[in-house]
Structures are given as structure tokens and as C-alpha cells.
């Protein structure tokens, strides 16, 4: 592999824009982060934050038109994916980078037996012959915990339950042993006991195969249990980036702080929940200044005038806020008094 420092993926100043009747929507606007080999990176955000578009950009699946990658670099194992031809990207997509989505039905072909769909992948990418591909398909279904895999491989997608379908999806995504798995809300449509199964499965497979994972989710509980690093997105920007424990213990951005406080903690007795007022912004009509300013509880005049700086708070901890250092200090104070 062409890495020298353990970095598998580096997204640098990515900008993905959409042309709409409403004008240019800067869905992703200057996003940067890095993913180390063997790590899980969580990307958290609400709808419209740009978290899914970021990942569609990584695998070059942004619908064009209306979308286009307007700038930046996506360096995967030493190669800038944005410089590759469509054909070269196809060699990587599915083979070295694969994806699972919230609704597996959208990525499984309803008219094709699972066996054929799994075999297509490895015949194309790994050069398997028919017999090898078939055996590999059965092996993958077994690995993701489908009971009676040898029989079920002949079924169609609709014959599986939601949880089982997501397992099939994971089997398909991992069948070529990708270096990077992008999981976009993989458990959002599932029941909580099934969610636990799938998350446990992703963890286990990650340990076994060494695959790096990007986990996109709105669920801070899932992030807490699954990830090493977190990127918090809002209005197409990275608002905060930190190792997971640090982010939860010492958030350095008012949006992250608000988000953390607005989630009910089942292990604690809480009164009224903290609530972030207002609505997420319309990315097509962002005003100057900080996009979170209209909802921020510590907004000052400067926030409405100037776009905030991306402030480094700790070795790997950054926050997009005029008052990042102050917010960080407050978090430190709170965490020391709560101990």
C-alpha cells in the first residue's frame, strides 16, 4: 500500500455544490478530515448538514447535474480520487471502498437472487470464476450471521427481513475486503435489538478484516459506542472534529454542546431537556457570519458579521467558532466539577 503514515483517507477542503432553481447550494463547503487505517470515524449532523453528500463525493457518486465537486482533494491511499477517470474510480468503488446505506432495498436488485448479486462483485473485482464466486458468496453470508446461508443465498432480497437484508448488504459491501467501508445511517431503519446486532457485527468484522469505517449517523449514542474520532457537520461545514471521548467530555463548539445536551440520557434523571432553538438553516440562503449564529446561545455581534475561524483546541481537536477556546474552557470546568 502506498501509505506511509497510516492515513488511509484525507479529505481536503472539499466543496460540493448543487445548482438549483434557488441558486447554488453549497451542500459541502470546505470540509477537511482524515481517517487512519483501522479506525472508525463518525460523521454526525442533522438533515442538510452535508454529511451524506460528503460521502457521496468520496465515492464520486454525486449526481451531476445538478451536483458537482467544485474543489478540494480526496486522497485515498495516496491517490487523489478527484483526479481519476470514471473508469479508474469504478475499479476502486466496490472493490477498495464500499458503501452501505440506510435502506438496503435501494442498493439490492429486487429481481436478482442474492447469490448473483454477491457473485457479480467478486467476479468483476477479484476475478473469481463461477464456482469460486458462489462459494465466496456463501462464506460471506455465513460471516454476517445469516442462518442457513447455503440455502438463503438462492433467495431474493424481499425474502429477507429488514435486519437480514442489512446483513446481506454488509456481506456484499465486504465481499472484496475493501480498505474503507462507508456506512450511511446503516441502522436508522432498524429496530433497536436489530440495530445492536448490526453494530456488533460491524465492530467484529472491522476487527477481523482491519477495514476502516466511516459511520454517518444522527445518533450520538451510536457514535459514542462505535467510533474513534468524530466530525460534527452543520450547514455544509465541519463544526467540530475530535477524538470521540474528547468530543463528548469536552465539546468546544456551542452546536455540539447543544446537541449533546438535547439528547435524553437514559442513565440520568433529567428535568427539561436543553433545546437548541430554531431550525437548521436553508443552505441555499446562508447569511454572512456563522451559520449557527441564529440558534446559538452565546451569539455575539462578531458571529453575525464574520465567518468563524477553525480553532485548534488540542492535539486533534478543532472547532469552528469565534469563541471556541471559551466554550472549551467551560466544558473543562463543567467536567471537573461533575467528577
Amino acid at each position: 500500500m502506498s501509505n506511509n503514515n497510516g492515513t488511509l483517507l484525507e479529505v481536503k477542503n472539499l466543496r460540493t455544490y448543487f445548482e438549483t432553481e434557488d441558486g447554488t447550494v453549497k451542500a459541502v463547503d470546505g470540509v477537511s478530515f482524515a481517517l487512519q487505517r483501522g479506525e472508525t470515524l463518525g460523521i454526525v449532523g442533522e438533515s442538510g448538514s452535508g454529511k451524506s453528500v460528503t460521502n457521496l463525493s468520496i465515492i464520486r457518486l454525486v449526481p451531476n447535474p445538478p451536483g458537482r465537486i467544485a474543489g478540494g482533494e480526496i486522497v485515498f491511499a495516496g491517490q487523489d480520487l478527484l483526479q481519476l477517470t470514471e473508469e479508474e474510480v469504478r475499479q476502486i468503488r466496490g472493490r477498495r471502498i464500499s458503501m452501505i446505506f440506510q435502506d438496503p432495498m435501494t442498493s439490492l436488485n429486487p429481481f436478482m437472487k442474492i447469490s448473483r448479486q454477491l457473485m457479480e462483485m467478486t467476479r468483476l473485482h477479484l476475478g473469481h470464476n463461477k464456482a469460486q464466486a458462489y462459494e465466496h458468496a456463501v462464506k460471506m453470508l455465513e460471516m454476517v450471521g445469516i442462518p442457513d446461508a447455503r440455502a438463503r443465498v438462492e433467495d431474493y432480497p424481499h425474502e429477507f427481513s429488514g435486519g437480514m437484508r442489512q446483513r446481506v448488504m454488509i456481506a456484499m459491501a465486504l465481499s472484496c475486503e475493501p480498505e474503507l467501508l462507508i456506512a450511511d445511517e446503516p441502522t436508522t431503519a432498524l429496530d433497536v435489538t436489530i440495530q445492536a446486532q448490526i453494530l456488533e457485527l460491524i465492530k467484529k468484522l472491522k476487527q477481523r478484516t482491519g477495514t476502516s469505517v466511516i459511520l454517518i449517523t444522527h445518533d450520538l449514542g451510536v457514535v459514542a459506542g462505535m467510533t474513534d474520532h468524530v466530525v460534527v457537520m452543520y450547514a455544509g461545514k465541519v463544526f467540530e472534529r475530535a477524538p470521540t471521548r474528547e468530543l463528548f467530555a469536552l465539546p468546544g463548539n456551542p452546536y455540539t454542546r447543544g446537541l449533546l445536551r438535547s439528547v435524553p440520557d437514559p442513565t440520568a434523571e433529567q428535568g427539561k431537556l436543553y433545546q437548541i432553538p430554531g431550525l437548521p438553516p436553508d443552505v441555499a440562503h446562508l447569511k454572512p457570519g456563522c451559520p449557527f449564529a441564529p440558534r446559538c446561545d452565546r451569539v455575539a455581534e462578531i458571529c453575525r458579521q464574520e465567518f468563524p475561524p477553525f480553532v485548534q483546541l488540542n492535539a486533534e481537536h478543532y472547532s469552528l467558532c469565534h469563541f471556541a477556546a471559551e466554550v472549551y474552557r467551560e466544558s473543562q470546568k463543567e467536567s471537573s466539577t461533575s467528577l
Binding site: S161, T193, E200, T244, A249, L259, S262, P264, I276
Partner: protein
Amino acid sequence: MTESPGLMQSAPPRLTTLVREPLVAIRDLKVYFKAGKGRIVKAVDGVTLDIFKGETLGLVGESGCGKSTLGRTILRLTEPTAGQVLYRDQDLAKLSAKQMREQRRHLQIIFQDPYASLNPRMTVGQIIGEPLDTFKLASGTEAERRVQELMETVGLSKRFVKRYPHEFSGGQRQRIGIARALAVDPDFIVADEPISALDVSIQAQIMNLLERLKREKNLTYLFISHDLRAVRHVSDRVAVMYLGKLVELTGARTIYEEPLMPYTKALISAVPVPDPEIESQRRRIVLEGDVPSPLNPPAGCRFHTRCPYAIQSCKEVEPALVEIKPDHFAACIRISPDQPDIDRVKAGEAPGLSA
């Protein structure tokens, strides 16, 4: 005897510490659907439950457990197959369609997808005002004033009165749905997954709004959700359903901290906690397999196919909901009031059977 609906009917789950009157009393309610080829889905199969005046009763369970059907049946949006729904001493299940419409003044519902439940061709003002007209509660300028007041109550600007649902975000649409439900000044609201479709920062807003309205308007809620964190936060008591049956019922804190029945234990342990320190130390009970099809539920205890504690008797005996601890009901033959902790019950024993 463990399987005795009659017994359950005479001793419904009740809070004994607080003497409270049930606002809605559900008695042995059954809702069956025909599923073609002569098959029947028992979506709700013999549920007995009191909802006390002024409480928020959380109703949780996974998809297909019957929780939404139960909620809809209380309001007769779905017709019951058998059983009673008592409200102010009358059985809603037996009312004529016309009589039931009258009762909907007092019993309202909020849906998960507020967009699907709002008429896209009506303005917000018309949507919220419609029930006022239907029930002849107000008209003309009085109705307009009420609509504005309701919009203010739920945190919508009065300026939006002439706008259409599609011009609003999910959270705002949910506020419209809540305002419409409040228009008739109801006693009781079924909130069916009211926050599931909303963004995290908006979920807190809606939960806080529902809690404030409850205090201000003396409402009683049945809060249906698969989100146990939200249910834990808003509810006084929580009822757990599995494949059409009530399997556990107790206070919101107790159900989270000391669940008794193995399914509830697994459900609680599966809930991700937003704290990496806690998450790294947690031992999860990961259930094997899927929820069985409600078309063909397992015999005996319906959970036995996935239950790590299941023994032979669990496949044969349908457990009744028993008061294992004060105000804490659970349906499991492997525990009893004398031996409430299933982990301490000897292998193969079913103390609930001999009780």
C-alpha cells in the same frame, strides 16, 4: 394458573402508591387483521392496561409488536375485534360511528409523519381551524382568534396562518399537527412516534413542547415510540409490547434500571447511550435472530424463540402479566414475586408456574 385473561381482567395493573383513577381503561383488547389465505394477524392480543389521568404512559416495542395498532384502536381509527376501551365510564369500542366522532373531541392523536396527516391543499389556518368548525366550537373571528392562539401555543408564528404544509420543515409540521389536536381541548392524546421523523435538535423541542402542554392543559398522553431514550425521558410509566402482548409495565426509571423480563432487559441493553465511557464498558445482551412474524407467532411465550433464558415450559405456557414487585408487572414464568431476579433462578426452574 398462568394463562387467565379473566384474572387479568379483574386485577388490572394499577399504581397502588398513588391512588389514581384511570382515564382510559383498556380491557382484554384484541385487534385481529385478515391477512389473506385465511390467515390472521393478531396485532393486539388481549391487552389490559390502565392509563391514569395526568400521566404519560410510554408504549414501546419493535416494529410489528402492535403498539401503533393499540393506540389507533383506542381512538377507533382501527376497529377492535374484542375487548373494551373504557373512557369516562363508557365503552368506546361499542359506540356507533357517530357517537365515536363526538368522543374524538376528547381523544386526539398526533402522527409520526405530520406531512402525510396534513391536507396539502389546506392552509395552516384551515387545518388547525377545521376541528373548531367540525365540533362547532367556534366560528368567524372567534375561530380565527383561537387558531392564532393555538399557533402561538405550539410555537408557530401567526404570520404563517395562510401558508401550506409543504412550506414547513418536519418539526414545524409536527407543531401544526399538535395545534390541530389541541384545537378541541382534548383530555387525552395518543402521540404515535411523534418525534421519530425529526432531527435530533428538533426532537428536544417537540418533547419539551409536549411536556409543557401536558402541564398547562392537564393532558394525559399515550406516548408510542421505539426510541427508548425518548420514552424514558417523557414517560411516568412504560409498557413494553412484544408481538401483540404486554410483557412488562412499571415506572419509567424502574424499567430502565431494573427490567425484569428478559425481552425488556435485552431491549434496554440495546439502547446506545450517548457517553463513550459508559458505552466502552457496557455488556450488551445481543438477541439472536429476528422478531418472528406476527402471522405465525410462537406458541407459549412469544419471546421464547429469542430468549436466552427460555426452557421447555416457555414453549408451552403463555405467561400472564403478574405483579412481580409492587407496581412492577412482568409476563415471564421464570420469575415470581418471591424470585424476581431471573439470573438467580436455578436452571430449568419456573417459579412463576407454581405461584
